[in-house]
């Protein structure tokens, strides 16, 4: 039972990472029908920016604002920097291409993914970088043999809060209505006077920013980052996106958490080595019987 609870908590934490990253995929997909392969590496970039702020601003910001101030500064810098990178990539590599077709944009996205990970390697070097002890909240609560870390709670809470806010923005505000309209039918939305570039910019700023926050959390949680991490997380998060049903926010959230739990439990109870085989096989089975994902809407076929 104890093991099960521990696995559950681990699964939820990993799931939150996936949910954060999956959201970026989902937003861009909903609006452009583009699988943004560069998204995983934007997440990696966020982890590196956060690392840089923590290391170099430790002396200045750390003494003025304390640990929590430093953490906040790191998160804000990572989110802003990565959002900027997302916007640049959208402007340079996607905007000239996606009016022509969404498949060429996929190639461009793959190119950007390769570019970004190698850019990270060129700037920060090929070595693993370590998030050091002194800028990570290390406390924990011990209940019997069950252990909850402060960091885990922080991760779970912020994923709930941030994704909740995003959900409210998209569902309840006028701008959110514009986002949904563009997602539904870009051309008609444009005819209705919706500034669709603004919606696209929103997706390419918010998605990477959330990814960056996940990147910094991953760095803190596992304490190490390297330039290829984005690719692995990107693949997993994309899986989570599809699992939940691509193009909707609660779907990304549910898909991420479910994938995290599935991983933790198969690894714990079946086999660590065969874990990913089970995860992917489960995904295939799910899609065979529910072809649009768990929360995906049944799309009427065009005739």
């Amino acid at each position: 039972m104890l093991t099960f609870l521990q696995q559950l908590l681990n699964g939820l934490t990993i799931g939150s990472f996936y949910a954060f990253v999956a959201l970026g995929y989902s937003l861009v997909y909903a609006i452009l029908k583009l699988i943004n392969f560069a998204h995983g590496d934007l997440f990696g970039l966020g982890a590196y920016i956060g690392y840089t702020v923590f290391v170099y601003a430790f002396g200045v910001v750390g003494t003025v604002l304390g640990l929590w101030g430093l953490l906040a500064a790191g998160f804000v810098a990572a989110a802003l920097g990565t959002a900027a990178a997302g916007l640049i990539i959208e402007r340079v590599a996607y905007r000239p291409i996606y009016p022509i077709g969404r498949l060429p944009a996929v190639v461009s996205a793959l190119g950007m993914a390769i570019f970004l990970s190698n850019f990270i390697m060129a700037v920060w070097g090929p070595r693993y970088l370590a998030y050091q002890e002194h800028f990570i909240p290390t406390g924990f609560w011990q209940i019997g043999e069950f252990r909850i870390r402060v960091l885990q709670v922080l991760i779970l809470l912020s994923s709930l809060v941030l994704l909740g806010i995003l959900y409210l923005v998209v569902e309840k505000t006028t701008f959110g209505a514009a986002v949904r309209a563009v997602a539904l039918d870009r051309e008609t939305a444009a005819l209705m006077g919706i500034d669709f570039l603004k919606v696209i910019r929103f997706a390419f700023a918010v998605g990477p920013a959330l990814g960056a926050i996940a990147g910094v959390f991953v760095g803190m949680y596992y304490r190490q980052i390297n330039f290829t991490m984005g690719w692995v997380y990107g693949l997993k998060a994309f899986t989570a996106t599809i699992l939940g049903g691509i193009g909707n926010i609660p779907g990304a959230m549910v898909g991420g958490v479910l994938l995290g739990l599935l991983e933790a439990l198969t690894a714990g109870y079946i086999s660590a080595a065969w874990k990913d085989v089970f995860v992917f096989a489960a995904l295939m089975l799910m899609l065979i019987f529910r072809p649009t994902g768990l929360l995906g809407e049944k799309v009427a076929e065009k005739v």
Partner: protein, 388 residues
């Protein structure tokens, strides 16, 4: 007439002589770019040392560098590129599966190929004439673990974990092979044997299973990123590294593990290791010279044995060519195969078996001290760290 000869000799000594091309093949891109980077820097330092001493046969050494990206396909392309460039002596590469197809090309073309980071046993069982390695083999390390480390702690319940990569699986299987007599006699018991997935971030499930197996000693064969996470997450899970002796294999440099996992999780953990430059400086003069030159140029010395072996591959070539006074790869290869000690490199005396394996690769057991440094394990000094 005499002055012309004299002048040309002087010119030759001044470096007018044609340089000797030596190829370097390594993973400069891809997931193993770290090792490629270290190996390249080490090889460059070794070449500088050789050239500062007047080169080989009075001719300077010039490196030709090719990236193989850490893939078998990249390996063949890099090898072809080096062969096409007219290189007759090559140092490379990291990773047994990358090495395998490239070494066939070198063999066919009669290029002396000195391998620095491949430990797969059967690489030298192919009857090649031009293949050598300055590193040990998988089974030499496994043997050291079974015959030295297990008796040292009087361990009875053994746990072996690997990460399913070619190298780690090889070591793990060899441990089982060498341990078989002990297992049959009932002197030790294998309580845990499983694989984890590299690149994963969460190993709590595997560690929980490890905890429940209650081993005396836990041997992890694999690479440092995963080992560091295992140590950290094990500590967070409440595993006591004093009760369970945590031993990593030679691809788990302690300094990297400390950086990733934090000192509190790594202190007292041990690794079986080929000799690292930092522990060689007092023993071998060339090691001292190498480490000083490296640190003057690139900062603190890495603690990758493979990069050190890469530098030793350069010295192997230099010694062998000087001794035979020949640039003919066949002559040099024949001499290297003779089994005699051809000189003293960074990692000690250099000699090779007729199959091309390095003879007498020494191993050591290192421990992470309270200061987070690696130290040669000494029960009297470090016993308290592992509860001895």
């Amino acid at each position: 007439m005499k002055w012309i000869i004299g002048l040309s000799v002087v010119l030759a000594l001044c470096g007018w002589a044609q340089p000797i091309l030596v190829g370097f093949q390594g993973p400069l891109t891809g997931p193993w770019a770290v090792e490629g980077d270290w190996a390249l820097k080490s090889v460059q330092i070794a070449v500088e040392i050789v050239n500062a001493r007047g080169g080989i046969l009075g001719r300077p050494v010039q490196l030709v560098v090719e990236d193989d990206g850490g893939t078998p396909k990249g390996g063949t392309l890099a090898a072809q590129k080096l062969i096409a460039a007219g290189v007759k002596f090559v140092v490379g590469t990291y990773g047994s599966m990358v090495c395998m197809p490239s070494s066939e090309l070198y063999e066919e073309e009669g290029v002396v190929h000195i391998n620095y980071g491949c430990t797969r046993v059967d690489l030298s069982a192919r009857g090649f004439k031009y293949y050598f390695r300055t590193s040990g083999r998988d089974d030499s390390q496994a043997r050291f673990f079974v015959e030295y480390v297990i008796p040292l702690f009087g361990a009875k319940r053994i746990a072996v974990m690997h990460d399913n990569t070619a190298y780690a699986l090889g070591v793990a299987e060899d441990v089982l092979r060498f341990m078989k007599p002990l297992l049959d006699e009932g002197k030790v018991e294998l309580v845990y044997y499983d694989a984890i997935m590299p690149g994963e971030r969460d190993y709590t499930p595997a560690l929980t299973a490890l905890r429940d197996a209650k081993p005396d000693i836990w041997y992890y064969t694999g690479y440092y990123p995963e080992w560091a996470l295992l140590l950290r997450q094990g500590k967070d899970l409440g595993l006591d590294w004093k009760k369970i002796k945590a031993v990593g294999s030679n691809a788990c440099p302690i300094s990297e593990a400390v950086k990733i996992a934090g000192l509190d999780a790594v202190v007292g953990a041990m690794i079986t290791q080929e000799p690292l430059p930092a522990f060689l400086v007092e023993k071998y003069p060339l090691a001292k010279e190498f480490v000083e030159a490296y640190e003057a140029k690139y900062g603190p010395i890495h603690d990758s044995p493979w990069a050190t072996y890469a530098a030793d591959a350069i010295f192997t070539l230099a010694f062998a060519i000087e001794a035979t006074r020949s640039l003919d790869p066949a002559v040099v290869a024949k001499y290297l195969r003779s089994g005699q000690v051809i000189g003293e490199g960074i990692t000690g005396p250099l000699s090779f078996s007729p199959e091309g394996d390095r003879l007498g690769v020494p191993y050591m057991l290192l421990i992470c001290t309270e200061e987070g440094k690696s130290a040669l394990f000494d029960p009297a000094v470090h016993g308290h760290l592992v509860g001895m």
